[in-house]
């Protein structure tokens, strides 16, 4: 019994240490991003790794989700005779929630894990120490471009996910279920508002990008310098980032709906 209490206590303290650690790391990241040198070359390279290489999965998934939404939406709305609103249902679901959240989860799995693994491998092979010995700050040189690339990629990928989703909904609704194309599009356009919906969606994806960028780089950076450590860092990054995204999704949705 005492063991259990001591264990819980120790874990709590450990988590607080971790929280402090990630906060310090995060502020270092922000500082290094804002301060020169800006390392544009490396940011572009990282954008390729996180953004371009995620395009395939994001667009494919977006279309798939759009197809399903169209189908499910239609099946439900037709019971109320409101199948003309399929466009609105598909659009609003994608823009408000599914776009930012699903994109974030997909990107976490694909790019977040890769970033954590890369950085973890660099720790294990002493590459970061090598940088330190050359008087180069590894957070500035390695971590910052990767985190920044994740931050920038997220809203772009999210928007693409949504657009492909809308297209998927169009395919099902107009192509398969016989809704008039004009109705679909106008239902879409008339019910999505910039301030309430699109802006919130972009805000979410930016926040998610920051979360994934921070957590994956931090997990990689603090991984134990061996292959087991790297693998734990990678899976840990995916799990923690995913959970954080979902939690922040609620927070932002609640605040955005209430405020402004």
């Amino acid at each position: 019994m005492f063991e259990l209490v001591r264990d819980i206590g120790w874990r709590t303290v450990d988590n607080v240490y971790g929280l402090g650690g990630i906060t310090l790391f995060g502020s270092r990241l922000v500082l290094e991003t804002l301060a020169p040198p800006y390392r544009l070359r490396r940011v572009i390279d990282e954008l390729f790794n996180t953004g371009v290489l995620s395009l395939a999965i994001v667009c494919a998934s977006g279309t798939a989700v759009g197809l399903v939404l169209g189908l499910q939406g239609y099946n439900t709305l037709v019971r109320f005779g409101a199948e003309q609103s399929v466009g609105a249902v598909v659009g609003l679901s994608l823009v408000r929630e599914l776009g930012p959240v699903l994109t974030a989860l997909l990107v976490t799995g694909r790019a977040g894990s890769a970033v954590a693994a890369e950085i973890g491998a660099m720790v294990a092979t002493e590459q970061l120490d090598g940088l330190r010995m050359m008087s180069v700050d590894p957070i500035d040189f390695v971590t910052q471009p990767k985190a920044l690339a994740l931050l920038i990629s997220m809203p772009l990928l999210s928007a693409l996910f949504i657009v492909f989703g809308l297209f998927g909904g169009y395919l099902v609704g107009v192509g398969l279920l016989g809704i008039d194309a004009g109705t679909y599009v106008s239902s879409l356009e008339n019910n999505i508002d910039f301030r309430n919906d699109v802006l919130g969606s972009v805000l979410k994806s930016v926040v998610f990008g920051a979360i994934v960028g921070l957590i994956s780089t931090w997990r990689g950076f603090t991984s134990a310098p061996n292959s087991e450590g790297v693998s734990r860092a990678t899976t840990g990054a995916v799990v923690q980032a995913s959970v954080a995204v979902l939690m922040f999704d609620y927070v932002i949705t609640a605040l955005w709906g209430v405020g402004i």
Binding site: F48, G51, N191, F194, V198
Partner: protein, 167 residues
Amino acid sequence: MSRSPIRDLLVGVFVLSGLAALGYLSIQLGGATYSGPGGLTLYASFDEVGGLAPRSPVVIGGVKVGQVKKIELAPDGSFRARVTMDVDRKLKLPDDTQAAVLTQGVLGNQYVGLQPGGSETILTNGGEITYTQSAVVIERLIGKVIQSLGGSSSGDGGKPAGGGSSP
């Protein structure tokens, strides 16, 4: 240190298409914001504005000509709602123009529809539209229908039949 120009090109394509998608979502879909010329401020007071909100469109004959800027209680103590609108300054609206708070479709957003009159005097900047028609509030409408039916026992007379959207 450029690894390959192809990669850079792809990054460029990625960023541009992402921005284009964002642009499409913001402007095409979200475009409840009236982005045309403005400059002519008009006022109108209503008993009831319903769901009308700032940035709601101002429409003539189905064409957006401006947007609602502000909604507040009328300062003259009449407890009416005073709506401030910003419309295209090139409009020449007669001073007997009517302003009504209407709803897009059945369940849609509310907007201000202007019906121009025939008077010779033209509204200038800061002018007041005096003929106004308030928003229809569903609950009150239902209430009225129930009342006028004189309270049938099951009280279902005023409610529209299920399925489909309420009027």
